[in-house]
Amino acid sequence: MSSRTLSYVLAGGALVGLTVLAFAVGRYPISLSEMTSLLLGQPVGANVETVVLQVRGPRVLAALVVGASLAAAGTAYQGMFRNPLVSPDILGVSTGAALGAVLGIFLSLGVFFIQLLAFAGGLVAVGLVYFIGSRLRGHDPLLALVLTGVVIGTLLGSAIALLKYLADPYNQLPAITYWLLGSLAAITPRDLGVAAPLALLGLAPMLLLRWRMNLLALPDDEARALGVDTRKLRTLVVAAATLMTAAAVAVSGIIGWVGLLIPHAARLLVGPDFGRLLPLAMLLGAAFLLAVDTLCRTIATIEVPPGVLTALIGTPFFLWLFALARRSW
């Protein structure tokens, strides 16, 4: 078996193992035999059924969908920006979503409208960055995009800070902080029913364009001379990655590091070809976030925000990867 195939097999195996583990552990442990019985449609206790199907099921699925989406978007962005240190947030999707959600909380809207505002905020922020960035002619188009992203991100960040300052410190501020740190605890099947199809819609063009995506990793001139309309392709990729990220962030809040760390690790394992990279990154992203979320709800009596854990795990892991990879990315 080649080392590439081995990477897929190991990542897939880890994902399956972690999924079983995630269903098993928690305040109400579920045994392997209870899980098998439930899968086979044999009678199990009502508690078991509730815990597996209603409590842990949506949460496990959410971790898989959000983890895979963030990793896929990060993979696309790192290739497109020719930079392994790029995360899906670089064009402001997370900051825009955060502003939308914070505004929703500030206006005391219901959960659905908070999510809707978060999703729309992410799309609008990236749309704005893209619109302004692509009109700054006479600069390297990627540099113009990144710089516009940084500037608009700072602007949106200050709007978030203002809302936090004005928010009711007893009712609203904790909710805002909670959202900004991300959580999979409150995700319902209905949330997933909306987010998963949107994520798939974003994934479709990436899968279809998986070979052509590689050319975006070349200098712009070279890709164009090889026959690629880089503007069109880039617009499509930004739209697809933004859709995936916004859908994920709207239901989970901001969970950093997955979209930065995972594509990077996957590239070290199978190289930069997007067609090989994307499936592995999605497997690893799903497995990583599932592991993190399972830790979040089991290591302490209170829930640890996943955004905190991903950073705690991600930072040393990233530095280790960086030290390990003597060669270029």
């Binding site: 070349l218 200098p219 090889l226 690629v228």
Partner: protein, 256 residues
């Protein structure tokens, strides 16, 4: 194959060259000579539709350049840019295969024929043994050859090479020039720039001397490469020596 009529070129908002006219027949090799900053790269990028012309007309394969789509241009003209280092670690084989893009549908993946064309391009440049190495781990000269192979995988009628010999050792320089002659012999038109006037003597039918964005002279190498034109171009004094049998070489005067 390529015809250029009173072309003005440059970057958006800044014209750096004008009044450039020439044409290139099928199977003809033309060498563009000129000092650093003389506009060679900008001219090439304009000819390939990567920069918008500031005036004049460009016809590629008798079609006005502005009417051609990116893939249509890429099927006619291959581009070998000056070497780069900021690539991801694609293997040389994957890198060369990217030359097939213009022959593929938007959602397609290279097929058997595309792989065969790429392999032939690799072999023709003597770098088939590097096929599985990452482009980030080969030498600058080898990467230059990989860029040439990628352009050949495009199967173009016109090949535009921007200083293809710049980072090559002496042997590889000669190999690239031999390759250029052989490709022209097979009917491909070739436009290349070089810092060495001898390269024009060695394999070009015509030389175009470009100074400050304008054509100083254009014609057979031994007619236009003279001590006075070289002094105009580079500001140094050079002897042009007739070696007999149609061979010429340039010898700069270095004071002792």
């Amino acid at each position: 194959m390529l015809s250029v009529e009173s072309l003005a070129f440059g970057f958006p908002g800044r014209t750096i060259g004008r009044d450039v006219s020439f044409s290139l027949e099928a199977g003809e090799v033309m060498c563009v000579l000129g000092p650093n900053g003389g506009g060679k790269t900008t001219l090439f990028r304009t000819l390939l539709g990567l920069l918008v012309p500031h005036g004049g007309t460009i016809k590629l394969d008798s079609a006005p350049l502005e009417t051609l789509s990116r893939p249509e241009i890429a099927r006619r003209a291959g581009y070998v840019p000056q070497g780069h280092t900021g690539y991801f670690a694609f293997t040389v084989r994957e890198f060369v295969l990217m030359g097939r893009t213009a022959h593929l549908g938007v959602f397609s993946i290279p097929g058997k024929r595309d792989r065969e064309v790429s392999e032939r391009a690799l072999e023709s440049l003597g770098i088939a043994h590097l096929a599985d190495k990452p482009v980030t781990e080969i030498s600058g000269g080898e990467r230059q050859l990989a860029l040439v192979a990628r352009a050949l995988a495009q199967e173009p009628k016109l090949l535009v090479l921007d200083e293809p010999t710049a980072s090559l050792d002496f042997g590889n320089q000669v190999r690239v020039l031999q390759r250029i002659s052989a490709l022209a012999g097979a009917g491909m038109s070739i436009l290349f720039s070089s810092h060495d006037p001898d390269h024009a003597f060695l394999c070009a039918r015509r030389a175009l001397l470009l100074a400050e964005g304008r054509v100083l002279e254009i014609g057979a190498p031994r007619a236009v490469i003279r001590p006075d034109t070289l002094e105009r171009l580079y500001g140094v004094s050079v002897k042009v020596i007739d070696l007999g049998g149609g061979a010429h070489t340039c010898l700069p005067a270095v004071g002792r």
